[in-house]
C-alpha cells in the first residue's frame, strides 16, 4: 500500500513553472494604498496568483531599499478599462516592466525557496506536501483493514462480471471506516454491483448499459440512495412525533439518531440500506476500487468529499489518480483526498483479465 504523491522538485523558473507578470517600483509611503487599490482593480485571485505577495521589498546596491508591486499578468493589465488604468498609473507613477514569477503555489519547502528568489510567496504549511508526507506512514492496522476491504471490492468485481455476461468489470465499494461492527473496523456502505442491480430492477431497460455508470459512480449513487432513504425515515419519524404531540419524545429520538451507526437490521457482512441524514455526502468515507479511477470518477469523488481512495492497479491510459494526471494533488479544488495504490494488486490484475479472451475491454 503506497501513497500516490507528487515528486518533490524545485520550481523550474526557466521552464514550465514560469509566468510573466507586470511589476513596478513604488514609493514606500504609497505601499498600503497601492495594495488596497490593486486588490479591487487587479485581484490576485482572479489571476490565480494568490500564492504570491503583492509587494516585494529588496535592497538595491545603489539606491537602497527598493519596493516593487506586482500588478498582474500583462493580458489582464491591458484588459483594464483605459481610464482606470491611466488613473492608477498617474497616481502612483507606475512604470510596468515584465518579471518572471512562479506560476504555481509552492507545495514543498524546496519549491517555496526556489520560487521565493523570484518573488515572495505565501506557503501554506497545513496543505504542504511535507506535512502530508509526515503523516504518510499508514498505521499497520489500516493497511490490514485495506486488504479486507479490497477483497470486498474484488467480490464486487466478480458479481459485476456475472452481471455483465462474463465481461471483466471493475469492482468498487465505499466504506465508512468508523462504522465497524462484529469485530471488523469499518463497514461497507455501498457497492457498485448492488447499485447496478437496483438500476436494472427499478429503471427502464434503456438505462441498463449506461456508459457513465462506472463502478465508482454507482457507489456514489448508492450512498445517495441510502441517504435519501434515511431522510425519508427521519421525516416519517418526525411526523409521528408531531402527531403524538410529544415534545419529550422528540428529544429522545434525537439522541437515538446519533447512536452507533451499526444496527442489527444490517445484513451480516452485507451493505446498509439506510444512512443517517446526519452524514454529509461521502464525507469521511474511503473508496476501494480494483483499478485506478478515470477523470470523471476521480472528480466525482472530489465532489463527494471522500477521505481516501485506495486502488489495486493502475490504468495507464485513463487513470487520473497517478497515471495520466494526479487530480488529487490539484490544491485549487475545494477538497483533496489521499490516494493509495497497490493493495491486492495481483488479485486485482487477475480480476480484470479476460479469462475467456472474447471481450473487447474491461467495463469501467
Amino acid at each position: 500500500m503506497l501513497e500516490v504523491v507528487q515528486e518533490d522538485h524545485e520550481f523550474d523558473l526557466a521552464g514550465s513553472a514560469r509566468l510573466d507578470v507586470l511589476v513596478s517600483a513604488i514609493k514606500p509611503r504609497q505601499a498600503s494604498q497601492v495594495v488596497k487599490d490593486l486588490s479591487e482593480l487587479l485581484p490576485l485571485e482572479r489571476a490565480k496568483l494568490n500564492h504570491l505577495k503583492r509587494i516585494r521589498s529588496s535592497q538595491h546596491p545603489e539606491t537602497g531599499r527598493l519596493l516593487q508591486v506586482l500588478l498582474s499578468p500583462p493580458d489582464m493589465y491591458h484588459a483594464l478599462d483605459e481610464a482606470k488604468r491611466k488613473e492608477i498609473v498617474e497616481r502612483y507613477g507606475l512604470e510596468p516592466t515584465v518579471h518572471a514569477v512562479p506560476k504555481l503555489e509552492p507545495r514543498t519547502r524546496a519549491q517555496f525557496l526556489s520560487g521565493g528568489s523570484a518573488w515572495p510567496m505565501i506557503f501554506h504549511h497545513s496543505t504542504s506536501e511535507e506535512a502530508r508526507r509526515a503523516a504518510r506512514v499508514i498505521p499497520e492496522q489500516d493497511a490490514l483493514d485495506a486488504i479486507g476491504f479490497m477483497r470486498d471490492a474484488l467480490v464486487d468485481a466478480e458479481t459485476g462480471r456475472q452481471q455483465n455476461g462474463g465481461r471483466p468489470t471493475v469492482g468498487a465499494v465505499l466504506v465508512d471506516p468508523l462504522g465497524g461492527c462484529g469485530g471488523r473496523r469499518g463497514r461497507v456502505v455501498a457497492t457498485a454491483s448492488r447499485e447496478r442491480q437496483k438500476v436494472r430492477d427499478e429503471e427502464p431497460a434503456s438505462m441498463r448499459d449506461h456508459p457513465l455508470h462506472h463502478a465508482v459512480m454507482l457507489c456514489v449513487q448508492g450512498v445517495g440512495r441510502a441517504l435519501a432513504a434515511g431522510s425519508r425515515q427521519e421525516k416519517v419519524a418526525r411526523k409521528q412525533e408531531e402527531d403524538s404531540a410529544g415534545g419529550k419524545l422528540g428529544k429522545e429520538r434525537e439522541g437515538k439518531g446519533s447512536e452507533s451507526l451499526c444496527s442489527d437490521a444490517d445484513p451480516p457482512g452485507g451493505v446498509v440500506e439506510v444512512l443517517s441524514p446526519e452524514q454529509y455526502l461521502c464525507t469521511g468515507f474511503d473508496l476501494y476500487v480494483t483499478r485506478e479511477p478515470c477523470l470523471m470518477c476521480a472528480m466525482a469523488l472530489v465532489h463527494s468529499r471522500v477521505r481516501r481512495v485506495i486502488y489495486g492497479v493502475r490504468d495507464t491510459e485513463r487513470g487520473c489518480l497517478g497515471s495520466v494526471t494526479m487530480l488529487h494533488t490539484l490544491t485549487s479544488l475545494n477538497h483533496n483526498y489521499r490516494v493509495f495504490e497497490g493493495v491486492c494488486a495481483d488479485e486485482c490484475r487477475q480480476s480484470l483479465s479476460d479469462r475467456e479472451s472474447k471481450h473487447a475491454a474491461v467495463l469501467p
Binding site: S206, M296, M299
Partner: protein, 186 residues
C-alpha cells in the same frame, strides 16, 4: 482555453437555447438547488432532445449535475446516446471537470456555456478536459463561452444571498457548492 466566436451564424438561435437552459437553472433555484441548467439540442433537426438542472441536494448525490441529469434523460427516453455526436449542449455554467470528462465519453458535438466555473471548471478554468490537452485518447469537443453569462451569474447571486439569509440551519450545509463561480468572473 475555451474559445469565443465561431457561433456567429446562429447567435440568436443560440441565445434562445441558452434562455431555455436558464429556465432550467431557475427551476433548480426554486427548489433550493445550485442554479445550473442545460438543454441538449439535436442540430440537424433543431430539436431539443433533453434538458436538466442540478439536483444534488434532492438526490443526496454531489454528482447529479445538470449535464449528467440531461444525459440520463436521453437514455430514459429510449434515445440512443450516439445521437449526441450531432448535438450541442447549452449549459448556464462551465461544465465541471467531472462533467467535461463525461461529455467526452458520450461524444457531445459542441458545448456552449454561460459563466465560467473558476473553482471546478473543466473547459478551461481549472483544467482543459474538452480539448485533449491531457494525454487521454478519445473524442474531444469545442467549447464556446460567455453566452448570457451575466444572467447565469445573477442566478448564482440570488442563490447565495438566499443561502445566507437562512444560514443558521445546520443540516443543509453548503450542499452542492461545487458549481459556484465567482461573481467577478466577467
Amino acid at each position: 482555453m475555451a474559445s469565443d466566436g465561431g457561433v456567429a451564424s446562429s447567435d440568436e438561435q443560440n441565445a434562445v437555447y441558452m434562455r431555455l437552459a436558464l429556465k432550467e437553472a431557475e427551476m433548480a433555484l426554486s427548489k433550493g438547488e445550485v442554479p445550473v441548467g442545460c438543454v441538449v439540442v439535436h442540430k440537424p433537426t433543431a430539436r431539443i432532445i433533453s434538458c436538466g438542472h442540478n439536483e444534488t441536494s434532492e438526490a443526496f448525490n454531489a454528482t447529479r449535475h445538470a449535464e449528467l441529469v440531461a444525459i440520463d434523460g436521453i437514455l430514459r427516453a429510449q434515445t440512443d446516446l450516439s445521437l449526441l455526436r450531432e448535438c450541442d449542449l447549452f449549459v448556464t455554467c462551465e461544465p465541471c471537470i467531472m462533467c467535461a470528462a463525461a461529455l467526452r465519453d458520450v461524444k457531445i458535438k459542441t458545448v456552449v456555456f454561460g459563466c465560467s466555473n473558476d473553482r471546478f471548471g473543466g473547459c478551461g478554468s481549472v483544467l482543459s478536459v474538452h480539448d485533449g490537452s491531457l494525454p487521454i485518447s478519445g473524442h474531444t469537443y469545442p467549447c464556446h463561452s460567455g453566452l448570457l453569462a451575466d444572467e447565469a451569474i445573477a442566478l448564482f447571486k440570488q442563490f447565495y444571498s438566499r443561502q445566507n439569509v437562512k444560514a443558521p440551519e445546520p443540516k443543509r450545509r453548503k450542499m452542492g457548492r461545487q458549481e459556484q463561480p465567482r461573481a467577478e468572473t466577467r
